[in-house]
Amino acid sequence: MKLALDRKKIAACRKIAVKVSRDVRKMIDAHSTVAQERSCVRLMGIDGAYLNPKIKQYYPLANVIVDQLQEDDALSRGVSYWMANACLEKNMTPTQVAEELVNSNGTFRLAKLPQHKSADVEKKAKALAKEGLARLVARRKERNKLIKGLHDPQDRSFKKPPVKYVIVASGNIFEDVVQARSAAQAGADVIAVIRSTAQSLLDYMPHGATTEGFGGTYATQENFRIMRKALDEESTKLGRYIRLTNYSSGLCMPEIATVAAQERLDFLLCDSLYGILFRDINMMRTLIDQHFSRLVCALSEIYINTGEDNYLTTADAVENGHQVLSSQFINERFALDANMKEEFMGLGHAMEMNPFHPDVILLEIARAQMTRDIFPKAPLKYMPPTRHMEGDIFFSHVYDAIFNLVSVLTNQGIHLLGMPTEAIHTPLLGDRFMALKSTNYIFGGAEHLGEELIYKKNGKIEKWAQKVLDDSLKLLKYIDKVGLFAAIERKCFAEVSRKIDGGKGYKGVFKRSDGYLNPFLDQLERKDYGK
C-alpha cells in the first residue's frame, strides 16, 4: 500500500459487502430468469435463429424455446429439465429438438411431452451441461495457448503500464474490423466494439453479421466471431495478443456472456448496477442474471469490467468518490461469489472531476492510488474524462494526457483511452491515432514513475484518500442497514432512484419451483469445476 489507509476500515467495508451480497444471494438462489434459461439453451449448442416475420428480424431459437415454456407455465422447472426430457423422448440432440419445435409452428410443446423418470432426465441434463461447459473450457485453453506464443501486454503485477483499450463504433462490423486492426497497429491492446444504442433493452440477442448500427454495432455471435478472427490474425502479425471486449449489461446479460465465452472474447462489461441505474433494468432480473454471467466469465477467464465510472457523469465527481468505492466493494463480493478471482475484476473508476477544481490532479491521483491500494490484485478499469470534455479538442487532448499520466503513475491495469473528440462524435480513425500516440509517449516516458514517487505523510493526497474510504464505510453501513434495493431507491448511487419492482425485464423473473433443474448452474457453482 502506498497510502496509509486504515486496513481495519477496509476489512469492515468488505465484511458489509459479504452481508449485502448474502441477502441478494438468497433472492438469486430462489429465482431464475428467461435470460438465464436462454443461456442454458445456448450452452446446449442451440445458437440458431429464424426470420420472424412479425419483427422482420432473426429471432433466436433459444427465445422460441423459453417463450413457449413460459407460455405453458412450465419454465419454473428450468429449461434444462424440459430439454433433457425432450432429447430422451425424441432421442434427439438439443439442436434437433429446437429445429423440430420451431418448424412445428407451435404444435410441438416441450411441456406437453411425456415425462421420463426424473433421475434419467437429471442424468441427461447433467451430460448436456457437462458437454456445453466443456466447450467453454476448451476455448479458454485455446486462448491461453495463443497468448503463450505471443507477448501479453497485460502485466499481473501492474509494474508495466496498463493495457491500452480503445473503442470502435462504426455500426458495420466489417468497417469495425478495418478500424480495429488499424488501432492495434497504432498500439491498442484491447478493442471494444461499442453496442448499438438501446440494445441493452432488447430481450433477445440480434443474430448474424450486422452492417447497420446506431452509435455502435450490434453485439451478435457472428460479429464476435468475425472480430475475434480478425484480431487473431493481427495478433500473430504484431506478435502481441490483442484482446476483444463487448458489453453484456442489460436484458440479455447471461446470453451475451455465454456467447462471448463461446467465441473466446476476453473482456466483458458485466455490471447489474449499471443496468439498474443507467438503463432502468429491473433490479432482481439483472442481479440474478449477473450471477450466472460472472460464473461463465470465471470459468472462461474472461475479465469483467464494471460501470462505476458512470456514477461520476451524473453525480458530482469531487464529492462522490465514495459511491464508486462502495459499489466496487459490492461488485468484488458478487464476483468472488461467482468463483471469480480478483485478477479478472476490471472494477470501474474514472477521472471525472471538474478540471478547473483547485488541485484537482492531486485529488484524482489520491483516488486512483487509493483504488489500486485497496484492490491490489484487481486490474481496475480506469476510464477517461467524459463529462467535462470540450469541443475544444486541443484542451480535451491535454486533459486526456493528464489522465494518461495519473493512470501509469498509480499502476492501473486497464486504461480506456480518452479521445480528444469525446464531446463531439464517436471516434474517427485519426482520433484514435492521436490518443494512442499520446498514451504511448506518456506510458513509455513515465513507466517507472510510480516506483519513484512517495506520497507525503498526511499530505493532501493521503488525507483525501482517507476521507473517501471513511465516506464509503459510512455509505456501506447505511446500505447494510436498509438493504441494497432500498439503498438504490434512495439515490445512494449516481443520484438515480430505482424501485425493486420497477424497470424493464421484471416480467422475465420467476421463482424456481421445487423441481427446478439447472445442472449448468450447479456445475458452474462448483469451485473446482473446469480447473
Binding site: R181, S182, Q185, T197, A198, F214, R387, A423, G430, F433
Partner: protein, 269 residues
C-alpha cells in the same frame, strides 16, 4: 457596430490593419492573413504522392501558402495529415442575421414576481429526453433543483410547476402527459445526433402535435449540444437552446412567450 474598427488594444497606427466586417477572414498572426489549420486522414499509405494529394485537397478547399506540416502513418493503408494554409474566402459579417430566441433576461426573483402578479397561477412545464436517447444530464441541468453552474433549475421557481419525466420518453407519451396535465410548455432534450436522429425526433413530435391540433396549445422548446434556435424553428418548434444554456435563459423565454400569447389572445377577443 460599424464595419471597420481597430482591433482591441491596438495603437492607432496606419500599419495596424482594421477589422473589416464586410470581408471577415481568419486572423492567424496578422489581420486578414486567413490562416487556418486542417487535419484529416487519407486511406493510402504516406508517400510524396499522398502528400501532394493532401496539398491538392487543401487547394480545393480554397487555401494558398499551403504547408503540409505532418504526414504520419497511423496503420497500414492510412496516412494522417496536419496542414496549414491561408484561405481566400471571406464572409460579409454585416449580412449575417441569426434567428435568436426573443426573450428579455430576467432574474430568478423577477420571474417569480411577474408570474405571481400577471399570471396568478403556476406555469406548468413538462420536459423529457425523448425517443431512444437516455441522456438525462442535459434536461436535469435545466429542471433539477440544483440547476446548472449555480443557476437554479426550473423546479426551484415558485412561479413554475416543472415536471421532469426523465429519458427515453416517447413523443406520444410526452404529448399525452402534457394534455392530461394541461401543461403550458413542453421542453424536449435531444443529445445523440447520430444520422440526424435528433432532427427526425423533433419533427415527428411536431407532426404529432399538428395531427392532434395542439400546435398552438403548448410552447414547444428543445435543447441539446447539437441544437440551437434556427434549427429548432426549422423543425417547427418555438425555441431552441444549445450548449451552455442556463435554466434562467429558458425560464425567461417561457415567461415572455406565455405573456405574448396571453396578450395576443386578449386582443383577439
Amino acid at each position: 457596430m460599424e464595419n471597420k474598427f481597430l482591433p482591441y488594444g491596438a495603437p492607432d497606427h496606419p500599419s495596424v490593419k482594421p477589422v473589416d466586417l464586410k470581408n471577415l477572414r481568419p486572423y492567424g498572426d496578422a489581420m486578414n492573413d486567413g490562416r487556418a489549420q486542417v487535419s484529416f486522414t487519407l486511406p493510402v499509405n504516406p508517400s510524396p504522392e499522398a502528400e501532394e494529394a493532401a496539398r491538392e485537397l487543401m487547394r480545393k478547399m480554397g487555401f494558398h501558402d499551403i504547408k503540409v506540416v505532418a504526414m504520419e502513418k497511423p496503420s497500414e493503408g492510412f496516412s494522417f495529415y496536419v496542414c496549414y494554409g491561408a484561405m481566400d474566402h471571406a464572409v460579409d459579417y454585416t449580412k449575417i442575421h441569426v434567428l435568436k430566441v426573443e426573450a428579455q433576461f430576467k432574474s430568478f426573483y423577477e420571474i417569480n414576481d411577474i408570474i405571481k402578479k400577471e399570471v396568478g397561477r403556476k406555469i406548468i412545464i413538462v420536459g423529457a429526453t425523448t425517443g431512444f436517447d437516455a441522456h438525462t444530464v442535459g434536461i436535469d441541468a435545466i429542471f433539477n433543483m440544483k440547476g446548472y453552474k449555480g443557476d437554479y433549475g426550473l423546479e426551484r421557481y415558485s412561479g413554475y410547476d416543472a415536471r421532469n419525466l426523465g429519458a427515453q420518453v416517447l413523443n406520444e407519451e410526452l404529448l399525452d402527459y402534457a394534455i392530461k396535465e394541461k401543461a403550458d410548455a413542453i421542453l424536449v432534450s435531444q443529445i445523440v445526433d447520430e444520422k440526424d436522429c435528433h432532427i427526425d425526433n423533433l419533427k415527428e413530435l411536431m407532426r404529432l402535435a399538428e395531427q392532434k391540433g395542439l400546435r398552438d396549445h403548448f410552447i414547444f422548446v428543445c435543447g441539446g449540444p447539437r441544437l440551437n434556435h434556427p434549427i429548432a424553428v426549422e423543425c417547427g418548434l418555438d425555441a431552441g437552446f444549445g450548449p451552455g444554456t442556463l435554466p434562467s435563459h429558458v425560464a425567461s423565454y417561457v415567461l415572455d412567450e406565455f405573456l405574448r400569447r396571453k396578450a395576443a389572445k386578449k386582443e383577439k377577443k
